[in-house]
Amino acid sequence: MSAPVIETRDANLSLISGKLPLHILKNINFRVDPAEVVAIVGPSGSGKTSLLMVLAGLQRATGGKVIVAGQDLGGLNEDQLAIFRRGNLGILFQNYHLIPSLTALENVALALEVADAGMSFREIREAATAALKEVGLGDRLDHLPSALSGGEQQRVGLARAMVTKPRLLLADEPTGNLDQDTGSLVMELMFNMARRHQTAMMLITHDPTLARRADRCLTMDHGELRNQAEVVKA
């Protein structure tokens, strides 16, 4: 059995709210294998996004171990976490979070430039162009985000997340702001790309149809992992 992409051991996240500790995540234990697709479902405020933040190294677990791509995130400082993200993670947001002053191409190229993989500017542009073509935006390369629809912006976000060929894609309600047809299109693209690049994927969703497309579905409630059921494919 190959090494897991994610492994958490009694991961906890507590914040101090007023004078009382607020337990956001409680003793989370699970693992995700390479190329596996895992959905996280649960009511609002159950800790889904917090778990994603902890896995992305954007927030530190206050207890337990969080190991992503073989790296214990607890031992890394801010800069080491940033360097870790470059080589291993892609993140897709519900609100896209594109840089408004950069074109679609520049937004995607930015991920490769930050990754500093020794590519020339030309190679970066070619790779970014290919990624945008892969999500069907080959004709919108020079458009600013403000000139793109929500679905198009999310596809740029997907191209940006996948252009570095990460081992793990974290997606936080990626279709939450999109209509059903557009959401389906983005989902299709996301699953296809993950499969093609053998990227493990962890996505938060409220959409049961989407959750059913995952290999496994984790259910969260009040900061705890209630269920890790295998999804029964039709």
Binding site: F93, H97, E106, L110, S146
Partner: protein, 848 residues
């Protein structure tokens, strides 16, 4: 109307809780308004005080004066019949004590002086007249002297010094003369002696051409008005030599001088407001961009463009009024503090009062500037479409189409407000050309900075991509859509250009008076040298290696009695120099060869063996002012003869470089008249004191004027004026910094968002920081280079055309300014970027 009130009420309510974000906008307006208010208030207070106290400041109801002699006993009797008379003689001479010497502004007064006010000295009991200290005791007359003179002469109070062959005892130190403010600029350190002592000093020589002795008779009239007294004096004396002036005339010159200076300060102060206006414009732009969604919501609810304009105009109006009110309060407070200080410095009684008119003018400037700068960004609010609600958040405000910007409804209000500012500036300075040149300078500077910003972005967009990703990203930040680069360049550039103009003018004036330019000036000059004295000086030069130069020009006195046959009195509104040329006997010389310095700008010099009819070389600016050219002639009176002298050439020279005469004659005619010599002596650097000792011991009765000391005194006076300009100009630079901080702050949210996304993508803190630092270094350096070009060009224009001083741009000064600009930009950028670097991605990602 009721509907508009309703709209305004909503706009006002919409501002609640948002005032804090406008801190910098309000500060920019307040600072500009306060500078104009304070300068105007102090200037007005000074003018009113001088006019109010003119009689005391002149020391009488009327003053009769002449330059060549005292009043005869009969003339004095007549003057005494008009009222109580005080006699004062002003002249410039040299005092010595042992090896030490100093230039003295000599004031000889009689027992009646002063008729009004009091001479202030710690050694004089209150109300006592100076005569109590000036009388003869043990064969020595007393003097009340400037405390600095004691230091220069190396004596203590009670010590003795000489003026020519007459000995004086320093019996008091001088704090102030009651008519000190109206005496104007005098060379040397003031010393008061008695007219009795002065009458005994028969060896006094006029030290420099133009530094004339003036015999003044101040009269406190009894039962007569000034006009009656003036008519009586004119009727009785029937002599051109007597001049009469009223307190209003005497104060007029001082008031004009202060007014002129205050006008220039107001223009410098206006710069502060205009630079600050950029902050208003940036602040309003950022506010409108942030409120796009709210505007779109209002539009979707059916709000018209007019309603949107009224809504935001109300808000900006309230903010402008707050800024202006704060500025007025600060300006009034500053003038309350400054008036007594300025009064003490200028020897004028200036009580701490608030002058409403200049404050109202400052308020009008502030309101007009607030409107002019805010209106264009506000028109963009009208263009926000409700469709925006269906687009993505965070998009920058789209740039309006240029046709939209040229609509009358957009252009006309801004033009009217600008015309209002221009008109108000003309009204307050009474100098249309000054304001016009200034306005052209401001507009050209703004367009250059703005245009160069666009050009920089244009060029960067077309440059091949930099090989390193960090540099590429920094450059992209500068040229990408919505970048604040053009605004940052204008913000830094305007303030810096102002700073450079002030700094360069200051350094060039200083250089002209005490620096490299003045180094060519003679060390000492002496007038009325006789042939034997010239020969002795030539011998001294041969014998002493530190006596490096001696030149003697023949010096005669003559009067210009006709200009191309026209009576000189028909020329009106002349400069001081031209007035001196036409209204009195002036020193003239003759030469075979042209002087070494200066240049012939028109015509040619005569052959060295010329002996024909008199030709003259005239100072070029004088010829220009009087409309004279080569071939024209002046009618000259000399020793009772009147003759024609044809202009052979026009020369230009700088007076600091050596001795120059306004009129230089060809050889021939003037050789027939008796003449003395004007001598210019140059001492080796560091040996001035030795040469001075040699001169004073060889010629104890000749006053050698130390030119360096005189230039130093002028430089010190200009230094005081320069301090005022630097303070007021410095505030314009401070406003530029506020604008820069505001610009950076308004872009902070976007930078935070960009930084978070970069960090999420894996960029390290140092990586994010280095991109921002590179971006700010580039912007700061670019703005500084453009501002340097503009500042140098403006300073050159002012130096050459208005101040007539040689221009040099000090590379160290310019490099310093560029460095300061880069440091300030990076500093201001770092202050806002630090928050961006520290921004927690979690918080941002959750909230956005």
């Amino acid at each position: 109307m009721r509907r508009i009130w309703g709209w305004m009420r909503v706009g006002f309510a919409d501002l609640r809780g948002d005032l804090k974000r406008f801190g910098l906008l309000i500060a920019c307006l307040a600072l500009g308004t306060s500078v104009i208010g304070a300068v105007g208030s102090v200037g007005t207070g000074l003018r009113l005080a001088v006019e109010r106290d003119a009689t005391t400041l002149m020391g009488g109801d009327v003053e009769a004066s002449r330059s060549d002699r005292d009043a005869t006993p009969q003339e004095l009797d007549f003057l005494k019949s008009l009222g109580q008379v005080a006699h004062v003689v002003d002249t410039t001479t040299r005092g010595t004590s042992g090896d030490n010497g100093a230039l003295i502004d000599l004031v000889a007064v009689d027992d009646n002086y002063p008729l009004l006010g009091a001479v202030m000295s710690p050694q004089l009991s209150p109300g006592a007249r100076p005569a109590t200290l000036l009388g003869e005791k043990d064969g020595v007359f007393g003097a009340i002297v400037d405390p600095l003179l004691l230091d220069r002469l190396g004596i203590a109070l009670g010590g003795r010094f000489r003026i020519g062959k007459t000995e004086f005892e320093a019996r008091g130190t001088l704090t102030s003369l009651p008519d000190g403010a109206l005496r104007g600029f005098h060379l040397g350190l003031t010393s008061v002696i008695s007219t009795t002592a002065f009458a005994g000093m028969t060896d006094l020589r006029s030290p420099l051409p133009g530094l004339l002795t003036l015999h003044r008779y101040k009269i406190k009239l009894s039962g007569m008005t000034f006009d009656e007294a003036k008519a009586a004096i004119a009727d009785h004396f029937k002599d051109d030599g007597w001049k009469t002036q009223s307190p209003r005339d005497a104060a007029g010159a001082l008031v004009r001088y202060y007014d002129l200076f205050v006008r220039y300060l107001l223009i410098v102060g206006l710069s502060s407001l205009l630079v600050g206006g950029v902050g208003v414009s940036n602040g309003v732009s950022a506010y409108i961009a942030e409120r796009q969604r709210s505007i779109a919501i209002l539009r979707s609810l059916g709000a018209t463009g007019a309603r949107i304009m009224v809504h935001f105009l109300t808000q900006i109006g309230v903010l402008t009024l707050i800024g202006v009110a704060l500025g007025l309060a600060a300006g009034a407070a500053a003038s309350l503090v400054m008036l007594p200080l300025v009064g003490r410095a200028l020897n004028v009684n200036l009580p701490a009062t608030i002058e409403p008119v200049p404050l109202l003018i400052a308020a009008a400037f502030g309101i007009l500037a607030g409107f002019a700068y805010a209106y264009l960004p506000l028109t963009r609010a009208q263009g926000v479409s409700p469709a925006l609600l269906f687009r993505s958040p965070g998009a920058a405000m789209p740039n309006p189409h240029w046709r939209t910007m040229l609509r009358w409804s957009v252009v006309l209000p801004v033009l009217l407000a600008s015309a209002g500012i221009f008109g108000l500036a003309v009204l307050t300075t009474s100098d249309f050309m000054l304001v016009a040149y200034y306005a052209i300078g401001v507009v050209v500077t703004y367009l250059l900075l703005r245009g160069s910003g666009w050009l920089l972005q244009f060029a960067l967009r077309r440059l091949p991509p930099a090989p390193r990703a960090g540099i590429r990203n920094a450059l992209r930040n500068v040229h990408s859509p919505g970048s604040s680069a053009p605004v940052v360049i204008v913000s830094i550039g305007l303030g810096l250009a102002m700073l450079l103009v002030i700094a360069l003018l200051d350094s060039n004036l200083h250089n002209q008076l005490v620096g490299a330019v003045a180094r060519d000036a003679p060390t000492f000059v002496a007038t009325d040298l006789f042939d034997d004295e010239v020969q002795t000086l030539e011998q001294l030069q041969k014998d002493n290696p530190d006596f490096t130069g001696f030149e003697a020009d023949p010096m005669l006195r003559g009067a210009v009695v006709g200009v191309n046959g026209k009576d000189p009195s028909t020329f009106k509104d002349l400069s001081e120099e031209a007035t001196f040329l036409l209204s009195s006997e002036i020193p003239v010389t003759w030469r075979r060869d042209p002087p070494r310095d200066g240049e012939i700008v028109s015509g040619s010099w005569w052959p060295s063996d010329y002996s024909g009819p008199p030709l003259i070389s005239l100072r070029a600016p004088l010829a220009e002012e009087l409309g004279l050219k080569v071939g024209d002639s002046l009618q000259i009176r000399m020793f009772g003869d009147v003759f024609d002298a044809k202009i052979a050439n026009l020369r230009d020279y700088q007076w600091q470089r050596g001795l120059n005469f306004m009129i230089t004659f060809s050889p021939g005619k003037l050789q027939g008249y008796p003449s003395t010599y004007l001598g210019a002596i140059k001492a080796a650097s560091g040996h001035e004191k030795e040469i001075e000792r040699l001169l004073t011991s060889t010629f104890p009765d000749i006053a050698f004027i130390p030119i360096g000391e005189a230039l130093g005194q002028v430089a010190s006076l200009l230094g005081q004026l320069g301090t005022a300009v630097n303070i007021v100009g410095g505030l314009a630079v401070v406003n530029g910094l506020l604008v820069l901080a505001g610009t950076m702050a308004s872009g902070r949210k976007q930078r935070e968002a960009d930084a978070v996304i970069r960090k999420v993508l894996g960029e390290t803190r140092n990586g994010v920081l280095s991109i921002f630092v590179m971006e700010y270094c580039l912007l700061g350096a670019f703005a500084a280079v453009i501002a340097s070009i503009v500042g140098i060009a403006a300073a050159w224009g002012i130096s050459v055309s208005a101040l007539d001083v040689a221009f040099a741009a000090d590379p160290v000064l310019i490099a310093g300014v560029i460095l300061v600009a880069v440091v300030l930009t990076v500093g201001a950028g770092a202050a806002t970027t630090w928050r961006a670097l520290s921004a927690k991605p979690v918080q941002f990602l959750r909230n956005n």
